[in-house]
Symmetry: C2
Subunit: 137 residues, 2 copies
């Protein structure tokens, strides 16, 4: 039981059940964002709806964020510690058409976008598609 991960659950007001600890652990180990079906396959016998609800809870409490990379399955990745998922907190995502991985480009904040008058901004989803450095040999 990783004390640090447990803390992250606590500070986000999520009761640290065994299941949730495991899920957070798996999520933390990923270098790229992961989908519900992928998460499912990391466990021998975990129930899909439980994992589903766990992800939803995590997302609601802003422990993780979701990325719609256009593959048909939502991807999830852990937020940075102080993230509130406000526009200033958001970053660009990159989907590699070769290895099919979705990266959080945490160093690249979403650019400012000037909406037409009377349009209110709430969030921005940016997915850049192309070939990642690993596949670009």
């Amino acid at each position: 039981m990783d004390k640090q991960l447990d803390n992250r659950l606590q500070t986000r007001n999520i009761k640290p059940t065994a299941m949730r600890q495991l899920v957070l652990q798996v999520l933390s180990e990923q270098k790229t964002a992961i989908s519900l079906p992928e998460l499912e396959s990391k466990f021998e016998n975990a129930d899909r709806s439980t994992l589903y609800r766990t992800l939803k809870t995590f997302e609601e409490r802003k422990l993780i964020h979701s990325i719609d990379d256009g593959t048909g399955a939502l991807k999830y990745a852990v937020c940075h510690e102080k993230c509130d998922c406000h526009p200033e907190d958001l970053h660009v995502h990159f989907y590699c058409i070769k290895c099919k991985n979705t990266y959080c480009l945490t160093d690249i904040p979403v650019p400012e976008i000037n909406l037409p008058v009377d349009f209110d901004l709430e969030s921005i989803n940016i997915v850049v598609k192309g070939v990642c450095a690993n596949c670009n040999i």
Copy 2:
């Protein structure tokens, strides 16, 4: 049979069948992007797979482009006349969480994004979520 729409099919090398003319007509009438299920409901008795394949063909030939706005259903909108769907041609999209419409903000080009070294860019999907001017009374 609108001569202009017919021309747009021709110049994109799409044989102007009755079905395709109708679909293009409907698409052209929309002020916001439309999904396959929505398109389906605009016809009394059209086959889903035919509409599906029509959209695919249109998209392939760059007569229309698709937007993944995160609602679970791809949305489609007609491209501007000279569009090649290259990054320079792309614009920002806006999804209104109130009226659930997806707008093409054709006046707002996608901003330039500096990827990490060795990352190759192919396309960019930007969806801004918020409240649109119509809903913002």
